[in-house]
Amino acid sequence: MKLFEYQAKETFRKNGIPTPQSMLITSVDELGAASDMTGFPLVLKSQLLMGGRGKAGLIRFVKDRAQAEEECAQLFASYYNVKKILVEQAVHIKSEIYLSITVDPVAAKHMIIACADGGVEIETLAETAPEKIIREYIDPDSGISPYQMRNVAFQLGLNGDVMKKFSSVLGKLYTAFKANDAELIEINPLFITGDEDVVAGDGKLSIDDNSDFRQNTYEKTREYYDSDAEYESALEGIPYLQFDGDISLMCAGAGLTTTVYDLINYEGGTVANYLEFGGPNYKKAVRAMELCLKNESKVILVVTFGTIARADVMAEGIVEAINRLKPDRPIVTCIRGTNEEEANRILKDAGLVPLYDTEEAVRKAVSIAAGGDA
């Protein structure tokens, strides 16, 4: 679960990492109270999960009240559906640093990534100037040691008081990384101010969904998702991606669903949505089809090849879904695996024409989407 900037900064503050003075507002009316707190100049930061907010004009530096109100109104009215703006004190910046912590799956360690060129996307830098990227590996059991914080600071060219303040921020960021079961925690940019303070200019925090049982600070609300279908599927725990093509995928197995997605593209078809109802969700055929039907797709393609996810149970689910939802579009099925004979009997009894080969099923769906016979 990816958090908004203002939430990441809440976590930073809880862990003692300095952030600029700020207030979250949901309408232009609240701007006065916010600017009383931050003073001018200030920065209006649209709270959206997308990257590149700066380039998209969603972050505005304003000098006075009049400008603030105008730009704030613009942001709330923008195409991007801005619901919340973080009004933040403008800090006098001497330099900017990139700092993040994630995991290294090969070394089985936590990995600190830092760069003296803050503000830029680290992925871009990895392409253009990989030698500028500093990495420090942390043993997940013994945790970070002060010398490792200093190692990063010295490699960044910091010294004296700033070195000490940076090391302290890094130590606290690491504490937050572990305590929040973070996939990624990032400060980009981390400001070094004119007063030699070290302050988090931005904040990203992505929490591992598998840790939900021990991490429940933030509820999964609609605002974290781009579409209703993505939100609803997330609540169900069903992997779902929104596209805008013709074929709704309702497949089982992450790898197989991705493969079907590829095959559709090879055959010249287009995908309306990616939906994976394998694993723990294999009994959720009704709910899955409901999500597919929210799209204006022309056909639903069901491909499975399951083990625990028994073919007969899935077939029963499909038939039940058809009976209950009365879908307005054709359904192509290719259900294999444990009890596949029984599954195909069930499908036939329900008037479907089960297929047995994935490519054949894909071609059939593409043909239907192109106007061919069901």
Binding site: V103, T124, N210, N265, T307
Partner: protein, 294 residues
């Protein structure tokens, strides 16, 4: 010779008295697996499929010879169960749990590396040497998929593995050892770490790699081949060729980000060392025939 397990490998089942544990223990035995005992805390004295259940792995290994442990344990308890097995000196562990917390997974892999153990999973169907033994839940009863033979298979997927393996069998081959390293972002064991075992196995003629977008595991395998540490024919099938950048498609962690982890890069890496990458599952069999001169 088989990789990881064969019919002689003495297998312990942790979480044997649970519904899933019982069901698949039955199937593992049915498949030929030498299950010697089980563990469920608090259930010592019970039997499952005629095997003694112990309170703890330590008590089990005091009474029984154990070489490998199969975990049917919920994701949040998996780290503890893996640590328990490692602590008793078990060097082969399979965990099928889907949903292991990332930070736990890092600690699991670290502990495995430290102990020189192979932890396979989580989020996997497990390991099968068709006709000999299985740890996990493969539909070994589907004969057009799990036929014994001389092809090694490594995979991140479940259903896709059935799909691709069926194509391998359709092409006239069979499988020596299939290792499902699992679909998690931090699997306990990585593809490249299994290659030396396939290299050393007289009964494996070639290896099929079922990978996907994201991460660097396929590139690591290419590097092994480049370094001459793996010399047998290698055929890959990689899901997510047409995946758009920035979307998490497939397993957790399968994402193309900042131009890294794209299937395009992986194809280049594998082909640059003489491996083949099949565009469709069906082509895997064709490439095997080509490379093995059949």
């Amino acid at each position: 010779m088989s990789i990881f397990i064969d019919e002689n490998t003495k297998v312990l089942v942790q979480g044997i008295t649970g519904k899933e544990g019982r069901f698949w223990t039955d199937h593992m035995i049915g498949c030929g697996t030498n299950v010697v005992a089980g563990v469920t805390p608090g259930k010592e004295g019970q039997k499952v499929e005629g095997r003694e259940v112990y309170h703890s792995v330590r008590r089990a290994v005091e009474q029984e010879d154990v070489e490998a442990s199969m975990l049917f344990v919920p994701p949040r308890f998996t780290k503890d169960a893996v640590f328990e097995a490692l602590d008793s000196g078990i060097k082969k562990i399979v965990t099928v749990a889907d949903g292991i917390p990332l930070h736990d997974a890092i600690q699991i892999r670290k502990a495995a590396l430290l102990e020189g153990a192979l932890v396979i999973g989580g989020n996997t169907s497990g390991v099968i040497s068709p006709g000999k033994a299985m740890m996990g839940f493969f539909p070994y009863w589907i004969e057009r998929v799990y036929k014994p033979g001389r092809i090694g298979i490594m995979t991140r997927s479940g259903s896709l593995t059935n799909e691709v393996t069926a194509m391998v069998v359709k092409a006239g081959f069979g499988v020596t050892s299939l290792i499902g390293i699992g679909g998690d972002p931090v699997p306990g064991t990585r593809f490249a770490e299994m290659l030396p075992f396939y290299e050393a196995d007289d009964e494996t003629d070639a290896v099929v790699l079922i990978g996907e977008l994201g991460g660097s595991m396929e590139e690591e395998c290419a590097q092994m081949k480049r370094d001459g540490l793996f010399t047998k024919p290698l055929v890959a099938f990689l899901g997510g060729r047409t995946a758009p950048e920035g979307k998490r498609m497939g397993h957790a962690g399968a994402i193309v980000s900042g131009g890294k982890g794209s299937v395009k890069d992986k194809i280049e890496a594998i082909e640059s060392v003489g491996g083949k990458v099949a565009e469709r599952p069906r082509f895997v069999g064709d490439y095997l025939k080509e490379l093995l001169g059949q």
